[in-house]
């Protein structure tokens, strides 16, 4: 009797719906763009419902309701219900701020399948300093427990960086104690806000090596009880990550105003043209949008990707990172050891990790900037 296996699928599997860019937190590694979209431009619940039906028709199976903080949408229950009605597996990615037991129960009744809650660190003071929001940690823990008590599947998400990476084991232990079935440990990805804060966030090589050992130990310890998924630290890697499972191959990202992106950072690549769900059907966008076509498949590749035996495994890595570091989105991701810029990227990491800098919080910062490492000295953030 064979156990089921994961299958490759030609239609997109996932859609990330950024319901809003509004968020009570101000994390310095936020994946939202530097230029946040305003409330006035946000899609309505009815528009999202249409997008969900089109996504399901296109073959999308899993929907990720994200932001910003999706809880900032007062119509989140209506949106969740529409997703469930469309037949999508519905996942809420949240800071947990703005939720109560009643609201979670309402979302569960609307058809919510899974909740992902971000945790910044193990201790309240350290966590709240990263989130830029006093009291966030305690509220997150309370809501995480409530999610588990309500019988909803819970994942704890952690972004790893220099200030918390040493506590990887404790973070996994915390996730288990909260009742999570899964924990996602993602090294900060240096685009947008995280790129601006790279010097304050970048771990040292020694920290990354220790974290790799910690990860292996935790996987062994929690085998069969807690799934641990990890996102590798690009700058210290030898192989690039298969970003998004390949450009325009598995998933779509819809911004609060309805722009459809191959990945959340795709707007950092100059010259790409994005289509909007306000103007076109999602199927047309998926198949024909210039932005999705730009790096689909392998025809766009240059050396060393073009002839690489791994070109259909890692797809040349991340286009946004190639843009940022190589200055051209069609080059190999410098995270790859075969890139001529690989050494330069590693040097960037080592240089960044040697500095002690202040966080630039996602604007507008709710309070005075804090020191990244020791919280001892407040200072002015560097200019953008």
């Amino acid at each position: 009797m064979n156990v089921a296996t994961t299958i490759p699928l030609p239609a997109p599997l996932g859609l990330l719906a950024e319901l809003t860019h509004r968020c009570p937190l101000a994390c310095p590694y936020c994946s939202n763009p530097l230029a946040l979209e305003g409330r006035d431009s946000e899609l309505s619940a009815a528009e999202w419902a249409r997008v969900f039906r089109e996504a399901a028709g296109l073959g999308v199976l899993q929907l990720h309701l994200s932001g910003g903080e999706p809880g900032a949408r007062r119509d989140l229950t209506e949106i969740t219900h529409a997703a469930h009605e469309a037949g999508l597996y519905t996942n809420l990615i949240t800071s947990a701020i703005g939720f109560t037991r009643d609201r979670l129960a309402e979302l569960r009744a609307a058809g919510l399948d899974h909740v992902q809650i971000s945790i910044q660190d193990t201790e309240p003071a350290a966590s709240d300093r990263i989130a830029g929001y006093d009291g966030a940690h305690a509220r997150k823990l309370a809501i995480a427990r409530t999610v588990a008590e309500l019988g909803l599947a819970l994942t704890i998400n952690v972004v790893l960086h220099r200030a918390n990476i040493a506590r990887l084991r404790d973070l996994v232990g915390l996730a288990a104690a909260l009742g999570a079935g899964r924990v996602e440990l993602a090294h900060a990805q240096y685009y947008g806000w995280a790129l601006r804060n790279r010097a304050a966030l970048m771990p040292t090589r020694a920290q990354v090596e220790a974290a790799t050992a910690d990860l292996a130990a935790m996987r062994a310890r929690y085998a069969g009880t807690l799934a641990i998924d990890a996102v590798v630290p690009d700058y210290y890697a030898r192989r690039p990550k298969p970003c998004m499972g390949g450009w325009g191959r598995r998933s779509l990202n819809v911004t609060p105003s309805g722009r459809v992106l191959p990945c959340h950072a795709a707007e950092t690549i100059p010259g790409l043209r994005f289509w909007s769900v306000r103007d076109r059907n999602l199927a047309e966008i998926w198949t024909r949008s210039p932005a999705f076509q730009a790096f689909r498949g392998t025809d766009w590749m240059r050396a060393p990707c073009r002839s690489c035996e791994r070109r259909e495994i890692d797809f040349g890595g991340c286009r946004c990172q190639a843009m940022l570091i190589a200055g051209d989105a069609a080059e190999a991701d410098p995270a790859c050891a075969l890139s001529p810029l690989h050494g330069r990227m590693l040097a960037m990491a080592e240089e960044a990790a040697g500095t002690d800098d202040v966080y630039v919080y996602r604007a507008p910062a709710p309070r005075a900037p804090a020191r990244a490492l020791d919280g001892a000295t407040a200072g002015e953030p560097p200019p953008p």
Partner: protein, 96 residues
């Protein structure tokens, strides 16, 4: 006092774990198990077992039904069903 129920025993009523759904996808023409950040195609005996993990049927009933479908010896079916359920439980796809 009743005996504590072993992890896999005839009286256990397996069900899909929290956050796991089984549904037929008309686009891919396949039964899919949807779980947090995972999509798994199910077919054959795996599907026959998973589709009966409804929290109502006992393992004993599932074994009976499969023995009838496959016209096989009950002992053989039981060993296969228990092994598969143990594996699915370890992957947090089924709750025993």
């Amino acid at each position: 006092m009743p005996e504590p129920v072993p992890a896999v025993a005839g009286a256990v009523q397996p069900r899909l774990a929290a956050g796991v759904r089984l549904r037929f996808d008309t686009i891919r023409q396949a039964w899919l198990l949807l779980a947090p950040e995972r999509v798994i195609e199910t077919e054959g005996p795996t599907h026959d077992i998973l589709s009966r993990c409804d929290g109502i049927r006992t393992i004993g009933q599932i074994v009976d039904e499969l023995a009838a479908i496959y016209a096989a010896r009950r002992d053989d079916i039981e060993a296969d069903v228990c092994a598969l359920l143990d594996e699915l439980a370890a992957k947090r796809l089924v709750t025993l």
